[in-house]
C-alpha cells in the first residue's frame, strides 16, 4: 500500500475523531456554564475549554478573554483556527478525496455528506439551541463515519491504519483533558472542593462520554480518583488511555503480522501499554498525576512520529 494512502487514511480518522472531541468539549462546557456560580466556582469555563482543545496560544492571539460566543465560534466554525470542527471536517474530506478508491462507498458517502451538510450551517448557529443541535450533528456524523468504516472496510492494512488514527487521536484527547483538569482529580480534592467540584467531574466524564459508564463500573458517587482511574487505567472504558493503547497495539500487531516485520512503532507502543498495565492509581498519585500525564503525552507524540517514519512517508 502506498505510504501516502496510509497517511491519508490515518489522518482522515484523526480529524473526524478530533471534530467529535471538540464537540464534546463544547457540549460539556455549555452545560457547566449554565449552572449557577455557587455550583461550579468562579473559574472561566470557556477558557478551560480552549485549554483542553489545545489551541490556547492561537486563541489568545485573536481574543483577549474567552467568552461563550468567541470560544464556540473559534472551536467550531473559525476558518482561522486550523483545528476548528469546520477545518477538521474540511481536512478529513480532503484526505478522503485523495484516497477515494481506498475507501468504501459508505465511508465516502459519510464524510462527503458531512462536508456537504457543513456548508448548510453557514457561518455558525445563531442561538444556543442551534449550537446544541450543531454539536449533536457533529457527534452523529463522527459516529456514522466510524460505524461505516467499522462495518464496511476490508480487514487489511487500510483498515488498521485508519483505526490507528482513531486511537492515537483519542488517546491524545483524553490525555489533554486530564492534563488541564488534573488538579480537580487529586485525592485530597474531595475535602477541598466538595460539591463545588462535582459538576466539574461530571463535565470531564461527559467530554469523554463516560458519565454513565462510571456508574456501571464503580457503582459509587463521583470520586475524583475513581474518575482518574476510569480515564487512565480501565481497559473496558473505550476512551481511557489503557483502552486506546490496547487498540493501538492490536492494530500495529496486525500490520506487523501482515507485513511479516516488526519495527520501532510496534516496540514503542507495547512499551507504553505495558507501563499503563503495570500502573496503579496510588503509585501514579504518589509520583504525581501531572507528571504522569505529561510523560504520556510526550510518549504518545513520539509514537506518532515513529508511525509516520516507519509507514507513512
Amino acid at each position: 500500500m502506498l505510504s501516502r494512502t496510509a497517511d491519508n487514511l490515518f489522518w482522515l480518522s484523526r480529524y473526524v475523531e478530533r471534530a467529535e472531541y471538540l464537540a464534546r468539549i463544547l457540549d460539556a462546557t455549555q452545560r457547566l456554564s449554565a449552572l449557577p456560580l455557587a455550583y461550579v466556582g468562579t473559574g472561566n469555563e470557556w477558557e478551560s475549554a480552549v485549554l483542553t482543545a489545545g489551541c490556547a496560544s492561537s486563541f489568545f492571539k485573536a481574543y483577549e478573554t474567552a467568552t461563550e460566543e468567541n470560544v464556540t465560534d473559534f472551536l467550531a466554525f473559525s476558518t482561522a483556527n486550523p483545528s476548528s470542527i469546520r477545518n477538521c471536517f474540511e481536512m478529513a474530506r480532503g484526505n478522503a478525496r485523495a484516497v477515494r478508491t481506498a475507501l468504501t462507498g459508505e465511508m465516502w458517502d459519510a464524510i462527503n455528506g458531512t462536508w456537504l451538510e457543513l456548508k448548510r450551517f453557514g457561518n455558525g448557529p445563531s442561538s444556543r439551541e442551534e449550537t446544541s443541535r450543531f454539536l449533536r450533528w457533529v457527534q452523529e456524523s463522527s459516529l456514522r463515519f466510524d460505524g461505516s468504516a467499522y462495518r464496511t472496510m476490508l480487514r487489511n492494512d487500510a483498515y488498521w491504519f485508519s483505526r490507528l488514527g482513531v486511537y492515537m487521536e483519542r488517546a491524545d484527547n483524553t490525555a489533554r483533558i486530564l492534563d488541564v483538569k488534573y488538579h480537580l482529580l487529586l485525592p485530597d480534592n474531595e475535602r477541598v472542593g466538595g460539591p463545588l467540584d462535582y459538576f466539574q467531574w461530571a463535565a470531564i466524564l461527559r467530554s469523554v462520554s463516560a458519565l454513565t459508564s462510571y456508574h456501571w463500573v464503580y457503582r459509587e458517587s463521583l470520586k475524583p480518583w475513581l474518575v482518574a482511574d476510569l480515564l487512565i487505567l480501565k481497559e473496558e472504558m473505550p476512551r481511557s488511555l489503557a483502552s486506546c493503547y490496547e487498540a493501538i497495539v492490536r492494530n500495529l500487531d496486525a500490520i506487523a503480522t501482515h507485513y511479516g516485520r516488526q519495527g520501532p512503532s510496534q516496540r514503542q507502543a507495547r512499551g507504553i501499554r505495558t507501563r499503563l498495565q503495570n500502573s496503579k492509581m496510588d503509585g501514579i498519585f504518589q509520583r504525581g498525576l501531572h507528571e504522569f500525564i505529561g510523560e504520556f503525552i510526550t510518549e504518545n507524540n513520539r509514537l506518532g512520529l515513529a508511525i509516520t517514519e516507519q509507514f507513512l512517508q
Binding site: 500500500m1 502506498l2 505510504s3 501516502r4 496510509a6 480532503g94 478525496r97 485523495a98 477515494r100 478508491t101 465516502w108 462527503n112 492494512d157 491504519f161 500490520i255 507485513y259 516485520r261 509507514f311 507513512l312 512517508q313
Partner: protein, 473 residues
C-alpha cells in the same frame, strides 16, 4: 457550410439509416416524460458516483458534471471496420514519425516536413534525441478526434498523442445506459467496451523495460486531486488495479524508480503518466514543478522504466504537424491514408496567411499548441469585434495558428428541452498500441454540442457526451 449530415436521417432527412432503425422505432414508442425522467435519473447517478471535472476560470464551480445525453450515437459494423483500419494506420504512422524525428530524421532529409517545424517546436524534446524506447512505441494511448461530414467521409480533426482523456466517460456512459435502458439494449447487439481497462493493462505490461524480470509493476501517475481529470485517473487506477500515485510517492535511486509504500520502497516498471512532459521531472524540465519525480528522466533514458506515453510525443499532435499527416502516412507506410485530414492552412506560410486573413469569417482558426477549445476563433459565429481582435493576434504571431474551413459536423438525435433534436457530434476513439500491435475497443467518446447550431463539443465549452454504440452488423 451546407446542411449537416444527420447520423440518423442522412442528408435529406427523409429515410432513417439502417443502424438507427431500432432506435427510431423506440424513440417513437417511448413517451417523452419517460425519456426526461431517465435523463434526470442519469444525472443523479453521475452526481452520486462523483464524475466531475474542473472548469478553468470558474472559481466557485470547481466540481461540475459534464452533461450526459441518453440517446446513443450508433455506428454500423461496416463503418466501424473502416474507421478501425484508418485509425490503426494513422497511429502506426504517428509512432514511426516520432521514432524518426528523435532518431534518423529521414523525413526531414526527404524534405517532407520542414526541419524548423520540428526543431523550433516547443513540443520537440531535445532530451529524447537519440534515445530508444521499449519496442519503439511512443504513443501507447492515442485519442484520435474524428468528425463525419457525410455517409462515407470521416475526417481526423485532431491527434491527441500526449495524455488524451475522456475514456472514463466512454466506460461510465455505457454502464449507465445499460442500467437505465435495458429494453433498448435487448433490441440491439452492441459491441462491448467494458474490456478497455484489461486491454490497457495488457498494453502497459507489454511495453515494460526489457530488463524487467518478473511481472511488471504498473502505476498511474496523476498530478493530484486538483487536476481536472482527477476523477478519471482514480477511476482508471481502480479499474486497472494499479496504484494511483503522485510525484511525491515516487523516487529515483540509482536510476531505478521506486514507490514509497508502507512496506518500504517497491520498484516501478511502467508509469502510465497523466502529467505533462513539462512537469514530469524538475531536474530535466521545469525546475519549479512539484508534480514530478526528480531524476525520472535519468531512469527513463537508462531504460529502467517505461513512460506511457513517451516523453516528447507532443511533436506528433501539434496542429501544424497535423497538416502533414497525409504525407507522413505515405512516407512511412507507403500507403494512401485511409482517414482524411481536414484541409488546413498553415498561417506560418505567407500565402496561406493572406488567404486566412481574407476569409476569417468563414474559417476556424486554432492555436497550434492549444487544446480544449481554448483560444480559437470560429469565424461564422464570431462577432466582428472578435474577428478583428483575432486578426491582430494572427498578424503578430502567425506561426502560432492554423486555419480550417468550418465543417458541418454530423448531427445525431439528442435529448434537449424541446424534445429530441439533432445536435452536432464528434467522436474520440481510444487507440492502444503495445508490443503486439494496435487494439481499439469498438466505440469511443461521442461529444455533443448541446447548444443548437453550436460546433464546439468541448466539455469546457458546454459540450456533453453520449454513449457510442457499434453494432455487430
Amino acid at each position: 457550410m451546407g446542411v449537416a449530415f444527420d447520423e440518423m436521417k442522412g442528408h435529406d432527412g427523409t429515410a432513417v439509416r439502417p443502424a438507427y432503425g431500432e432506435l427510431d422505432r423506440w424513440l417513437k414508442e417511448v413517451p417523452p416524460d419517460v425519456l426526461d425522467y431517465r435523463r434526470r435519473e442519469a444525472e443523479l447517478i453521475f452526481r452520486r458516483i462523483g464524475i466531475t471535472f474542473a472548469v478553468y476560470g470558474e472559481a466557485d464551480a470547481t466540481e461540475r458534471l459534464i452533461p450526459f445525453d441518453v440517446i446513443p450515437r450508433i455506428m454500423s459494423a461496416d463503418e466501424w471496420r473502416r474507421l478501425e483500419k484508418g485509425l490503426t494506420q494513422r497511429v502506426n504512422a504517428l509512432n514511426l514519425f516520432i521514432k524518426d524525428v528523435y532518431g534518423a530524421r529521414d523525413i526531414l532529409r526527404a524534405g517532407i516536413v520542414p526541419e524548423d517545424m520540428i526543431f523550433r517546436n516547443p513540443a520537440f524534446r531535445p532530451e529524447m534525441n537519440g534515445q530508444t524506447v521499449p519496442h519503439d512505441i511512443y504513443v501507447h494511448i492515442a485519442g484520435i478526434d474524428i468528425i463525419r461530414v457525410d455517409a462515407d467521409t470521416f475526417y481526423v480533426l485532431e491527434d491527441n498523442a500526449r495524455t488524451p482523456s475522456g475514456v472514463s466517460y466512454m466506460l461510465e456512459n455505457r454502464e449507465i445506459m445499460m442500467r437505465l435502458f435495458p429494453e433498448l439494449f435487448s433490441r440491439h447487439r452492441i459491441a462491448p467496451v467494458e474490456n478497455y481497462p484489461d486491454e490497457l493493462l495488457a498494453t502497459l505490461r507489454s511495453v515494460a523495460p526489457l530488463s524487467t524480470a518478473k511481472e511488471p509493476n504498473v502505476v498511474l501517475l496523476t498530478p493530484g486531486v486538483y487536476n481536472s481529470a482527477y476523477y478519471e485517473h482514480s477511476f482508471l487506477a481502480d479499474k486497472l488495479g494499479v496504484e494511483l500515485v503522485e510525484g511525491r510517492d515516487l523516487f529515483v535511486k540509482d536510476e531505478v524508480v521506486y514507490m514509497r509504500t508502507t512496506q518500504g520502497p517497491q520498484r516501478v516498471d511502467v508509469i502510465y503518466r497523466r502529467v505533462d512532459d513539462d512537469f514530469i521531472d524538475p531536474l530535466a524540465f521545469r525546475p519549479d514543478s512539484i508534480l514530478g519525480v526528480p531524476g525520472l528522466m535519468s531512469a527513463y533514458t537508462a531504460g529502467n522504466v517505461t513512460l506511457a506515453n513517451a516523453v516528447g510525443t507532443g511533436i506528433a499532435d501539434d496542429k501544424a504537424i497535423y497538416s502533414f499527416m497525409p504525407d507522413i502516412v505515405k512516407f512511412y507506410l507507403g500507403e494512401e491514408p485511409l482517414l482524411k485530414n481536414v484541409p488546413t492552412w498553415r498561417c506560418r506560410e505567407p500565402e496561406h496567411l493572406s488567404y486566412v486573413l481574407d476569409h476569417l469569417p468563414e474559417l476556424v482558426v486554432k492555436e497550434v499548441h492549444g487544446s480544449g477549445g481554448y483560444g480559437m476563433l470560429i469565424g461564422p459565429s464570431a462577432s466582428k469585434i472578435a474577428i478583428e481582435q483575432f486578426r491582430a493576434k494572427l498578424k503578430t504571431a502567425p506561426d502560432n495558428f492554423i486555419a480550417q474551413p468550418t465543417l458541418a459536423l454530423s448531427t445525431s438525435p439528442t435529448c434537449v428541452e424541446q424534445g429530441v433534436a439533432p445536435r452536432h457530434v464528434d467522436l474520440r476513439p481510444f487507440v492502444l498500441t503495445g508490443r503486439n500491435g494496435v487494439r481499439i475497443v469498438p466505440g469511443g467518446l461521442t461529444r455533443v454540442a448541446l447548444k443548437e447550431g453550436s460546433l464546439v463539443v468541448n466539455s469546457s465549452q458546454g459540450g456533453g457526451t453520449k454513449d457510442t454504440w457499434v453494432l455487430d452488423k
